[in-house]
Structures are given as structure tokens and as C-alpha cells.
């Protein structure tokens, strides 16, 4: 998927402001951002629900505006706001979506049975969706998104508000489909979910992309969030530690001192030299990478 300069305004507000990115075939791509960052607007533009004001996007080489039907044929979608038909049974919802995607009857029924069994809904397939719990509805929405064996799966906050067991089942299933070759585009504000699932993530805020990279690289490359924790065999003055070359900030935490640094490798050398010059013994020395949440909050703050 190639997105270039995609833009959407609601009145004066630029909900999505000239964003560009690429998603590779078979990739698990996360789209992270706080509420009202522009995640859902982006996904709704990519899935043809709303029209962009500017920019282009293509999926498997097909332009989303010029070849809307063809691109939508390749997608499976779990929208944040849309529902299943509560006056229909799970079976009828699934077969309806199958028909809308032109899945042949035999294949439609086989896939519906297989998906309902996988998600534990088969026994209640004839029940009206009205009586389903939130978790069951969400599982059904995922079944509906998968009935056409999509090449790309768009998931808008698929585990939001679900219990831990349902969240885990849904994540495992998405991971399995991604493993089998389905490209996944996931929007979430759950850092841990993005960290566990995504090959790469984009962080969006106020309609603009603040960063795109793998979760691990984002954590490691994020300057100002790296830190070193050191403890010596004698109590050390924090002010003195702050004078060490490369240390941005020093803070006493229990019997340890946490140093905020940009380049942990350089500061470790300086620390060893410092300890020798002061005839101090190093009791422990650890480098601490920031959590994805730290990175996220920092990027959001900066943007």
C-alpha cells in the first residue's frame, strides 16, 4: 500500500494532514495515536468510506479512488464504528458479507463454518446478533472481515474494550492470518498490542505522522529517553554525577543513580573512568531502554 500526501479536512480542522507512508506486502503495520489523532479518518479514507480532500493512495497497485471497487474487493475490514446487523443471525451476517464480496456459495459456507468454529461462535450461529456480548460481536466482525480471504486486513481498534481472553484470541488469530500472508493494517492506542504484533508502526498526532519505524528501533533511537542506572560502593553526590560528559540529567533512585543520556556507550566509558579516578567500586551498572509508551508520549509531546 502506498499513501502519498493524503489529506482530509472537517471544516477548519485538518483531521489528516498530508500523510505519506508505505506498507509492504505481508507486513503487520500499526497506526498508533491518541484519541482524535486521525487514525480512524485515515482508515476510513483507505477503505473507501470517506473521500480524501487531497493526496493519493493505492493498494496492490490499484488507486483507491479510481478503482474503488477493485481495491475494496481485496480488503477485509473491522471498522471501529460499524456494526454487524443485530436483527440477523451470525450465520446470515457472514453469508451476507460473503455475497457482497462475490464469494461462491460453497466456498462461502465452508469459510463461514471454519471461521465460526475458530472463533468459538459456531454453536450460536443461528442466534440473533442482538443477544451477543461485545466480545462475541467483535469476533463476528473479524469473521465477517475474513470471509472473503482478504489480501489486506484493516483493523480499527479491534480489541478495544474487550476482556483479556477475547483480546488474546483475536490477537492470536490476526497473527495467524498475517503469518499466512495477509497484510495487516492495525490502528490502536494500545502500546503493548502494537509492540507485540507489529513489524513497523507509524505514530500519528494532530493528523501528522510523527515517526515510522519498527517498535524496537523507535525505542532505541529515541534520543533523550535512554538511561543508565549505576550504583557505587560509596554514596555519590548527584550534582557531581551530572558533570560527567554525556549526562543530561542525574536522579537518585534508592541506592542507585539514574542518568539520562543520548549515547549510553560513551557515557559508560566515562563512568568507568570516573569511578577509577575517584577510587570507587561499581556495584551495578545497567542500561535502560525506554518503553514504547515512553517513546509514544515523547513523540506526541514533540509533535
Amino acid at each position: 500500500m502506498e499513501v502519498s500526501d493524503l489529506t482530509k479536512h472537517f471544516g477548519e480542522l485538518a483531521a489528516v494532514d498530508h500523510i505519506s507512508f508505505e506498507v509492504k506486502k505481508g507486513e503487520f503495520f500499526g497506526f498508533l495515536g491518541p484519541n482524535a489523532a486521525g487514525k480512524t479518518t485515515t482508515i476510513r479514507m483507505l477503505t473507501g468510506v470517506i473521500k480524501p480532500d487531497g493526496g493519493t493512495a493505492s493498494i496492490f497497485g490499484h488507486d483507491i479512488l479510481k478503482e474503488g471497487l477493485r481495491t475494496r474487493q481485496l480488503m477485509g475490514i473491522v471498522p471501529e464504528m460499524a456494526n454487524a446487523y443485530v436483527d440477523l443471525s451470525a450465520w446470515n451476517n457472514l453469508t451476507l458479507v460473503g455475497e457482497l464480496y462475490g464469494v461462491p456459495k460453497k466456498q462461502r459456507h465452508e469459510r463461514a463454518i471454519s471461521l465460526l468454529e475458530k472463533f468459538g461462535l459456531y454453536e450460536r450461529r443461528e442466534h440473533l446478533v442482538r443477544g451477543y456480548s461485545k466480545g462475541m460481536k467483535q469476533k463476528l466482525l473479524l469473521c465477517m472481515a475474513l470471509i472473503n480471504d482478504p489480501k489486506i486486513l484493516f483493523l480499527d481498534e479491534p480489541t478495544s474494550g474487550l476482556d483479556v481472553e477475547s483480546q488474546r484470541l483475536i490477537r492470536d488469530m490476526i497473527r495467524e492470518f498475517n503469518k499466512n500472508g495477509t497484510t495487516v493494517f492495525l490502528t490502536t492506542h494500545n502500546m503493548e498490542e502494537a509492540n507485540q504484533l507489529c513489524d513497523r508502526i507509524a505514530i500519528i498526532n494532530h493528523g501528522k505522522i510523527a515517526a515510522i519505524d519498527s517498535p524496537e528501533r523507535l525505542r532505541l533511537q529515541s534520543s533523550g529517553l535512554q538511561s543508565i542506572e549505576v550504583s557505587f560502593d560509596k554514596t555519590m553526590n548527584v550534582e557531581e554525577m551530572q558533570k560527567i560528559c554525556g549526562v543530561k540529567k542525574a536522579k537518585k533512585i534508592g541506592d542507585k543513580i539514574r542518568l539520562s543520556v543520548d549515547k549510553p556507550g560513551v557515557v559508560i566509558d566515562e563512568l568507568v573512568a570516573f569511578a577509577r579516578s575517584k577510587k570507587l567500586g561499581i556495584v551495578s551498572l545497567n542500561t535502560l531502554a525506554p518503553s514504547l509508551e515512553d517513546v509514544f508520549l515523547k513523540l506526541i509531546k514533540e509533535s
Binding site: L69, R72, P79, M81, A82, Y85, L88, N92, L96, G102
Partner: protein
């Protein structure tokens, strides 16, 4: 290739129509505005009047076809907007026209099926139908035309409240019933009434029904058919265009 695309989209319209039949035929507003209101309106007009069944029948048939075929269509879009199921349809590989054509088909089938009942009842009490073939084609064409009209009724304003659309559509439908030769044959209307009635599609179906049952009509039969076809095309095209424009406001 192009034909295949249209055929494929038509099949998806059928899937949408099937879904509409399952969900909307039993909805309260459809039953009230499509069956109960016209039934009691008819009773209130005819009870106490000593009219032969042959005279009553075209009016009853016209009213049944009109109210039933226009009762499902206006309910669907606002209902789906509120239930947030419209977004699912729009994000699926189905054209906007195919989505609304599915709504037309559901309305058309409802109107056609229910219209069979007054015909059977009429035959049962001894009404002789002079031209059954014309009546059959007339019912099918008229209910299709009214179904297209029903989609137009829900096009504007883009609300998510079915009751609002049903009330607004009643404001349009009731006056049409009174100027379309249902209660008074077109030939007996004053000249201004005749002019107004010529703008109503129901006029031409009532005229066709009179011809089919009694052999009398105000307009030539071919003109009745032609005007119904023209109304159907205009309603369908206009409705789809307006829905295309207002759809974004519903999502």
C-alpha cells in the same frame, strides 16, 4: 467486461435486497405506514357508501400498491445510518447505485406481494378482471416505480431517524392519494385537479387498474405504461444522485 461488472453488481443488489427483506419487512414503521394506515384510510372512505366492488377495486389496488411499495424504502437508509451498518455496505465492493437498487428491489417485492391480496379478494367476491395481463404488468411496473419513489423520499434530509423520514414521506404520500383518482375517477375531477393529478405516478396506475378491471380509462393504456416507466427512471436516477451527494453526511 462491463456487462460482467453490472451483472456482478446486480447480484450484490440481490444480496442487499434479501437482507432488507429479512430485517425491514417486520419493522414497526413499515407495518404501520405500509399496511395499517392505508387499510384504515380505505375503510374510512368506503364504509357506509353503497359502491359496487368493480368501482372500489382500482382505488383499493392503487392505494395498496402505492403505500406498500413506498413503505420499506424510506426506512432502510436512516435505520442503517443509526445502526452503523451503512458504513459496512459502503466499504464493501458494492457500488452506491447497487446498494440503493437493493433497497428498491426489497420495496418492489413488498409492494408486489401485498398487492396480490386485494386482487385475490376482489376475484373471490366476484370482481371480473377484463385484462389480467395488463393488470399484471401494471402492478409490476407501478410497484417498481413507487419503490424508486420511496428511495427518493429517504434521500433528503440525510437523517438517522426513521420516524422523521416516515412522517415526511407521509406528508408527500397522502396528498398524492387524494389527487390521483383513487377516490374520485380522474375524469370527474375539476380541471385544476386533472392538471395536478397528471404529475402523480399513482394517477397512471389507478387509470391502468380501471382499464384492466372495468375496461375504462382516462388516458390511453400505452401512455399510462410510458409515463410510469418515465417516472421510474427519473425517480431512480434522481434518488441515486441525491444519495451519492448526501451519503458522506450519514457516515
Amino acid at each position: 467486461m462491463v456487462n460482467n461488472l453490472y451483472l456482478e453488481q446486480f447480484e450484490r443488489s440481490l444480496a442487499i435486497a434479501k437482507k432488507n427483506i429479512r430485517i425491514y419487512y417486520s419493522k414497526g414503521p413499515v407495518v404501520v405506514f405500509g399496511l395499517l394506515v392505508p387499510f384504515f384510510l380505505f375503510l374510512s372512505f368506503y364504509i357506509g357508501r353503497n359502491m359496487p366492488a368493480e368501482i372500489m377495486m382500482p382505488g383499493l389496488l392503487g392505494m395498496t400498491a402505492f403505500f406498500t411499495a413506498t413503505s420499506v424504502g424510506p426506512a432502510i437508509v436512516p435505520w442503517e445510518t443509526r445502526a452503523k451498518t451503512l458504513e459496512r455496505l459502503v466499504s464493501s465492493p458494492v457500488s452506491i447505485w447497487a446498494i440503493f437498487f437493493g433497497d428498491v428491489l426489497a420495496s418492489f417485492l413488498f409492494g408486489t406481494l401485498i398487492s396480490v391480496f386485494p386482487i385475490i379478494a376482489g376475484v373471490f367476491i366476484g370482481v371480473k378482471i377484463a385484462n389480467p395481463v395488463v393488470l399484471g404488468f401494471g402492478v409490476v411496473l407501478a410497484t417498481f416505480c413507487f419503490a424508486c419513489f420511496s428511495i427518493l423520499l429517504s434521500a433528503y434530509p440525510p437523517t438517522d431517524t426513521p420516524a422523521n423520514v416516515m412522517m415526511l414521506s407521509s406528508l408527500v404520500k397522502f396528498p398524492l392519494v387524494f389527487v390521483s383518482g383513487i377516490f374520485i375517477p380522474i375524469g370527474e375531477l375539476p380541471s385544476w385537479g386533472m392538471t395536478v393529478s397528471s404529475f402523480s405516478p399513482l394517477t397512471y396506475f389507478t387509470d391502468l387498474s380501471r382499464y384492466s378491471i372495468n375496461g375504462n380509462s382516462y388516458y390511453p393504456v400505452w401512455l399510462d405504461f410510458l409515463v410510469l416507466v418515465a417516472f421510474a427512471i427519473v425517480f431512480l436516477v434522481t434518488a441515486i444522485k441525491i444519495h451519492e451527494r448526501t451519503l458522506q453526511k450519514r457516515l
